[in-house]
Amino acid sequence: MRFPLTLLSLVLATGLAGVPVTAATGAGPARALPASGAPAPAPARPACRAPYLVDHKLPNGARWRLCWEMRTIEGLTLTDVLYTPVGGREVGVLRSTALAQIHVPYDSGEPRFHDIGTLGEIAVALQAADCPGGERRGQYVCVTTRPRGHAYLKSRFEEPSLSAQGHDLAVYAAFQVGWYTYLVEWAFSDDGAITPRVGATGSLSGFTSASGHGWQTGRGTAHVEQSHSHNIFWRLDFDVDGKKDDVVEQYDFTGSGTAKRTLVRTRFTKEAKAVNGRTRWWRVVDTRSRNADGHRISWEINNSASAQYRGPEDEKFTRADLYVSQYRSCERLATNNPTPDCAMSVDRYVNAERLTDPVLWVNVGYHHVARDEDADPMPVHWQGFRITPRDVTAKNPR
């Protein structure tokens, strides 16, 4: 993604005090194909046009640009996600993100579904009311903005408080997988945060079970609806400020029953898997690009609130909450990967290869114990995680 230093990127970089000259992701050369033999120039980003281009400025001035695509297998897929903080330059965040699996094992041990089939074929047509305040792109995708409450509020001395309301740009689609309808959404906030999440609605499966594996629903004791997990995997190909120089770090804080806590940083130089911890988080950091404070630009992965389902021996892919693999175009799904000459599941993608272009796989589980309120149509239950900017700007971008 990073092309040689051109006059164009120089021009762009001069406007950015304190930012070392690295190729600006948002600016690329013309899209013409190279003459044979010449190195291929990276296409301009985002590499799409209307109606696939989303280019939106939120009320505080923050701007997000990205492309969407309804792929046959993964369904809604976002590529070339670029963020421009208020008053700052545009920075690349994600090259691509999509769902990588929805694994639904029932508590009695069977059945166990892998719900990603051809999601693109089972997208649910959205009505105008399903896209409030926004714009439907084709029949299946909604692009809209909505309030997210206070961005900040600070009381001041002998002055009115300083406060603002924040907004999200949301891009989503819905998919009908058997009984369930899944809402698949990415929210892009005006402070640079991204919230990928999936909402499960539609209907319960109606599977019964012995009472130890479910919850009585409906009148009396006749029906025990079987509990189950929704283990959702996202594939996130981060390209922070371009493809090069991205590194993944894990942060832990030692000290339990002690007054002191100490930060411990682990840098993943090779492919890795990791499990959640209450204060553990990760970040994808560009080792060359810095903000105006001289700090490295990064995006942090946190707050999954996963139920952390761990499956049997033949479901090793459930045994970590984060996988970091070296980019390979054939590695697309977390299980039942659909491409030949490629490993079959995400746990197999991680095999100590050196990381130069990391792809993150985030596993967030929700354990669903049915209740009477789930009777049709089932209220949405959400699961997801957060991607927050860390040192992308030198201060609160507002």
Partner: protein, 224 residues
């Protein structure tokens, strides 16, 4: 279009394979087909219907004979999103070789109009295509016991007799092999799917303990 294929499936494997490839050439352009046709697509735009059709034709060019006998089937075409080829317009055609139980993926460079890469492997489980979904339903209906059960449930729910599989709300999902009894072991190498069947009253048939083995054209009982 889709339901038409179901009827053709009854005419035999050859007609079905043909129908499978027609899916991608006769205007039913798949989910990613670009809807606006203002000028050529940008590099990151979804494939247009025309590109999907061309990629399917180019990828199948050397397979026509085996496709006509139903041994080989074009499943679907995806835009190739390899970062190393981001400056090119490419499509991946997913082709299943039922003769060898092998998935073939051919990468078509739409600019050059030719296949530039091919990979193939046994035991890969790409999701079912619409044609496979319809064929799985036909197999289930053709099974005496399951066919009788489904027809009875349909008649009760709809108040009329089932005419064909196209009357049913279908959703096939790839079957992920586990220890589900001796019969299901075949699915470690065969192309097997689960089938969800929805009736007109919105209810679902219980098909959780059934897998359809499309390679062997058999219905398998899953045991647990």
């Amino acid at each position: 279009m889709r339901r038409g294929r179901t009827v053709m499936a009854l005419a035999g494997a050859g007609a079905l394979a043909l129908a499978g490839s027609l899916l991608l050439t006769a205007g039913d352009q798949g989910p990613q087909a670009a809807r606006s046709s203002l000028g050529p697509p940008a590099l990151g735009d979804p494939l247009t219907g025309d590109e999907i059709a061309r990629a399917g034709e180019i990828a199948s060019a050397t397979l026509r004979t085996r496709m006509s006998t139903g041994r080989v089937e074009l499943l679907y075409v995806e835009r190739d999103d390899d970062k190393a080829a981001a400056h090119l317009r490419r499509a991946d055609a997913y082709i299943y070789d039922y003769g060898a139980d092998r998935l073939i993926v051919r990468t078509v460079d739409l600019g050059q109009g030719k296949v530039v890469a091919e990979s193939a492997d046994r035991g890969v489980r790409p999701p079912p295509s619409r044609a496979e979904e319809a064929r799985a339903a036909e197999l289930l209906l053709a099974d005496p016991e399951h066919g009788r059960r489904i027809r009875a449930a349909y008649a009760a729910a709809a108040g009329r007799a089932l005419r064909s599989a196209s009357d049913l709300g279908l959703r096939a999902m790839i079957y992920t092999p586990r220890r589900h009894g001796a019969a299901a072991e075949a699915c470690r190498t065969h192309r097997c799917m689960r089938l969800f069947v929805r009736l007109p009253d919105g209810s679902w048939l219980d098909t959780t303990r059934i897998a359809v083995d499309l390679s062997a054209k058999k219905i398998l009982a899953l045991e647990w």
